[in-house]
Amino acid sequence: MDDRLQQAAVSLVEGRTLRCRGAWTMPDVAPVERALRGMAWPARNPLVFETSGIEAFDTGGAVVLYRALMEARRQGCEVSIQGLRPDYAQLMSLVSSHWAAMVAEVAPRQNGSERFRASIRNRVAQGARTLEFLGESATALVRLVAAPRRMRWRSCLNSLRLDGVHALPITGLLTFLIGVVIAYQGAEQLRKFGTNIFIVDLVGISLLREIAPLIAAILIAGRSGSAYAAQIGTMKVTEELDALQTFGLSPIELLVLPRVLALVVALPLLTAYADVLGVFGGMLIASNQLNVSFTAFLSRFEEAVALRHMLIGLGKAPFFAVIIALVGCYQGFQIRGGVDDVGRHTTISVVQSIFLVIIFDAICSILLNWWNL
């Protein structure tokens, strides 16, 4: 507000004159607005809004003044405005000419039961879209097997580099630390029974069979699944997917299959790498805390940890990879509106793929247990 102008103010004089003074402009009209809203208008009294004291006026001031005028009239007052400068009066007539539109009741879009029905319809449509996506991916895969030259090797290799090679340091570090943690916790218990050497069974079987594949999959879901959703979603928002379709190219073949294939290759390799570093972490702690030397550890490893444990762990990895890549890409294709949709679906892709990976892992554990593997 200009320093030369007075603070906006209103006062009701003798119940018949509302004296308005000062700068009725947008940031500064707020106290007046509050005062007017709480005003008890004198009933059935001819009331005058004396406005010659208003020193500055904008649409904010006009809206506040007009709202007060309408409110006083609604409560049965006869109100007239006096002393308003002509240019300010223009703003008032601007407000009055749009008043009907401003206070028009806008019907809320849906009531409760409509919302419920809409959400059911949404779920069904989403299910249909999921099936459609899976079907398209499967047919694209079949076409690709029939004509392998259609495979986009370049984008597949690029994806392999970004999602596989670049994930090596973090995957290695994390599984190494997990190996350390498991060995530490095991050491406490095993030392009590003097069965130190069983640290090898503990670390080896748990890591190779369950933990390394899961850690690798969860990391990749966070790193790559989310990236797939965001990339494809942004391409959708910027109409790049539409451009591909007008060239007669299938986005599924171009974007989804190379990523799925790259992850199917990368995740088992990452898992094997994670196995090695995790067991190494356990081995360090075993020699440090339990006096199990590296040679003792490795010879026990050969007899105690059957090959099938590692194969089961590695065998699950490609399935995890398919889940992660498909969920990420699918969520990318689901992005419709704009910026916040990208964020939402990226989040969904991570949560959903980790959820499905763990469900799949649990089912595997149960089945393998039945078959005594």
Partner: protein, 268 residues
């Protein structure tokens, strides 16, 4: 404060601005002034630095050398925390609307009011509704999200948001680009009407020749990093500068001029 009369220095003063991005020179010694109450247009071909100049004036970019004074203050202050009072005094309509996609139209329009004023929610709603009505959008569009509006409506919504604080200065970046001729003409009229009602000074970047003829009081033509010509459309149309001639006397330029003068007899 739209209606406090004042006679002061130019509302925008761009002096000796040069801009380089790496080795690419965008502006070489650009100077111009905008006076209160006019519709000032910055025109020129694609890539001549129109939008860059606009972004420098509103403080989103800093020129390499030279100064820009906006409402009497160095526009470099806009990036600092004490620039906030200045931000209240101008509104910007971005080329693609830049409406916040997670908010309804009413919420979009309310953002500056909520952030800059202590007004109550009811007053904010009323003022927002007035601006939405002023730009000619129906009341039920207030609860819609930007993705549910058509391109022309989104442009109007962005304009409503830009004028919600009754700014002294309104910046429009390519306001009519991508609109059909009828809607574009309607938009021009709307800008003129709002200028009259709210006492705005309008600065717009455009290469819509129809709009230049219809609403611009003065036009600066940028080219080769410099101001090639500055004046009314009539004066520029008589200019001898080859680039300006090309710009205004190409087939589209002539058509726009004929449309504007309303006679088939005009010859240059």
């Amino acid at each position: 404060m739209a209606l406090v009369a004042s006679t002061e220095a130019p509302i925008i003063e761009v002096s000796h601005v040069s801009t380089r991005f790496g080795t690419a020179v965008v502006h070489r010694d650009v100077s111009l002034t905008v006076v209160r109450g006019e519709v000032f247009a910055i025109a020129g071909g694609n890539g001549c630095g129109k939008s860059t100049l606009l972004r420098e004036i509103i403080g989103l970019l800093t020129p390499t050398t030279g100064t820009i004074r906006l409402l009497g203050t160095d526009s470099r202050q806009l990036t600092q925390s004490n620039g906030r009072p200045l931000h209240r005094r101008f509104g910007v309509m971005f080329q693609h609307g830049a409406l916040f996609s997670s908010m309804t139209l009413a919420e979009n329009v309310a953002v500056p009011l909520r952030e800059h004023t202590p007004l109550s929610a009811e007053a904010i709603r009323d003022i927002g509704a007035l601006k939405i009505a002023l730009v000619g959008l129906p009341p039920d569009s207030a609860i819609k999200f930007p993705s549910e509006l058509s391109g022309g409506m989104r442009r109007r919504a962005a304009l409503a948001r830009a004028i919600v604080m009754d700014p002294e200065l309104l910046f429009l970046d390519e306001p009519t680009a991508g609109l059909d001729p009828m809607i574009a003409a309607g938009f021009d009229d709307l800008v003129l009407e709002l200028k009259r009602l709210l006492g705005l000074t309008v600065v717009m970047v455009t290469h819509d020749l129809d709009s230049l003829w219809r609403i611009a009081d003065r036009v600066a033509v940028l080219g080769e990093g410099q101001v090639l010509g500055l004046g009314t459309m009539d004066a520029l149309a008589r200019s001898d500068d080859p680039v300006i001639r090309n710009y205004f006397h190409g087939p589209r330029g002539r058509a726009a001029h004929l449309n504007h003068s309303g006679t088939g007899l005009h010859r240059d």
